[in-house]
């Protein structure tokens, strides 16, 4: 028996995509395997690590806990999209300058999650930044440099 499939039309990084996907395919696997957008990573596959973070209809979600079939009619943005648009150029710059990554596996998820916090317009404390990023695992940096980078961008954007 072939696996059940679903037809979807989804806007990915501003471009309308029509595909037929297996019902069981997760959003992150669809992005990586069908669309070649490999900036979203697959880590734990049960919602703990945050490596698969993408934006769905404007808010960050776990790409491994959302089915591609559920995204019919939705708008998805990945790290490739927000990178190309320049939306997080300052945040990427700060991560680079402060060595807020080593292997980089968690970085796309970190950036998208941090951007959601910064875009809310708040001037977050270091504790609030840590709390907001608590669902994104980094096994290299110890988080200190990541919090430094996010804090510096929050300050810079506050002045701008």
């Amino acid at each position: 028996m072939s696996a059940p499939v679903v037809d979807i039309a989804v806007t990915v990084n501003g471009e309308l995509v029509r595909e037929t996907v297996e019902a069981r395919k997760t959003l992150v696997d669809f992005l990586r395997e069908d669309l070649g957008l490999t900036g979203s990573h697959v880590g734990c596959e049960h919602g703990v690590c945050g490596a698969c973070t993408v934006r769905l209809d404007g808010v960050v979600v776990r790409g491994c806990l959302t089915l591609a079939a559920q995204c019919d009619g939705a708008r998805v943005e990945t790290i490739e999209g927000v990178s190309d648009s320049g939306e997080i150029a300052d945040l990427q710059d700060a991560f680079h300058k402060r060595n807020a990554l080593q292997c980089g596996y968690c970085t796309p998820g970190m950036l998208l999650t941090a951007q959601e916090l910064l875009a809310s317009g708040a001037a977050p404390s270091r504790a609030a930044i840590r709390e907001h990023l608590s669902g994104n695992y980094c096994r290299c940096t110890g988080y200190q440099a990541i919090v430094d980078a996010v804090e510096s961008v929050a300050r810079a954007r506050g002045k701008a």
Binding site: P4, R24, T26, E45, G47, L65, D72, E131, S134, G135
Partner: protein
């Protein structure tokens, strides 16, 4: 891991969802936020034939005051509940609990109804519902029914919901000026499931409290009321209430903490939450 194959259907209405569930005789699952369900499927702890997606069913995402109750629709996302002025004002216990539920990306997607329907023994919302003496609205093939929180949670991941039922809303009594609430939990990392947690409500009467409801989570198969501690808190005082937890709670060892640690933490939580309840009285 990847889930085993299943079919997927978008429910057009509540009736359509109930019809689909009925046709698959226990082999279909309701998909709302999916933050626990899809993880379960990915790990192949469950392999249903069909997922019935209720996300497009209209009318299940309202937060409203009705007849002295705050009604929260099953599809209200945790993030929406967290931002809701109605919940902050009139269901403050739920507002206190919200930041402890998962992480921002989980709260953007996960639903209030899903959390109650799953009834994870270490989850925050089932305990809040129990502490508030709330109720659950259920739609099924036989029509609609309402089940009180005290009767809803039956066992480990087991509730009053049948396999053909859809949880449509929860209701909690709207807070009165004398309503007091408290919430605290211990977890290894912010957003993780609790080692032990406590949700509480009470009514202030001068300097004392009445109608105290203490609902612990992470200490058994379901969220549990600590009834002797409730009585002691009203009558004899905090030390007696902490001592009464010995009779009320029967935690077992798990991978996170052993029973003795859980008992100790339960007492610490009661002191913290009791302080929250009385602080508001001052």
């Amino acid at each position: 891991m990847k889930p085993a194959a299943f079919a997927y259907a978008k429910a057009r209405s509540l009736d359509h969802a109930i019809e689909l569930l009925g046709r698959h005789d226990g082999q279909a699952r309701v998909l709302a936020g999916g933050q626990s369900l899809i993880a379960t499927l990915n790990m192949r702890l469950d392999a249903p034939d069909l997922l019935v997606d209720i996300n497009r069913v209209a009318g299940l995402d309202c937060i409203a005051r009705r007849n002295g109750y705050i009604e929260i629709g099953a599809l209200v996302r945790h993030a929406a509940a967290e931002r809701s002025d109605v919940i902050r004002r009139e269901a403050p216990l739920i507002a206190r609990a919200m930041p402890h539920i998962g992480h921002p990306a989980i709260r953007n997607r996960g639903t209030v109804g899903g959390s109650i329907a799953l009834a994870d023994p270490a989850a925050e919302l089932p305990a809040c519902l129990l502490a508030l003496g709330g109720e659950v609205e259920i739609a099924g093939a036989q029509g609609r029914r309402t089940v009180a929180a005290d009767a809803f949670f039956k066992g480990l991941f087991d509730t009053a919901l049948g396999s053909g039922d859809v949880l449509t809303a929860i209701r909690v009594p709207a807070a009165a000026p004398a309503t007091r609430t408290g919430f605290a939990e211990f977890s290894r990392r912010h957003g993780d499931y609790a080692l032990v947690g406590l949700a509480a409500s009470a009514t202030a009467e001068g300097r004392s409290l009445r109608d105290v409801r203490l609902a612990y989570f992470g200490v058994g198969a379901t969220a549990v009321r600590a009834r002797q501690a409730e009585a002691a808190l009203i009558g004899t005082g905090l030390d007696a209430a902490v001592a009464a937890l010995e009779q009320d709670l029967a935690p077992e060892d798990d991978v996170q903490a052993n029973a003795a640690v859980k008992r100790q933490l339960a007492g610490v939580l009661l002191r913290r939450v009791a302080a929250q309840l009385t602080e508001q009285s001052a």
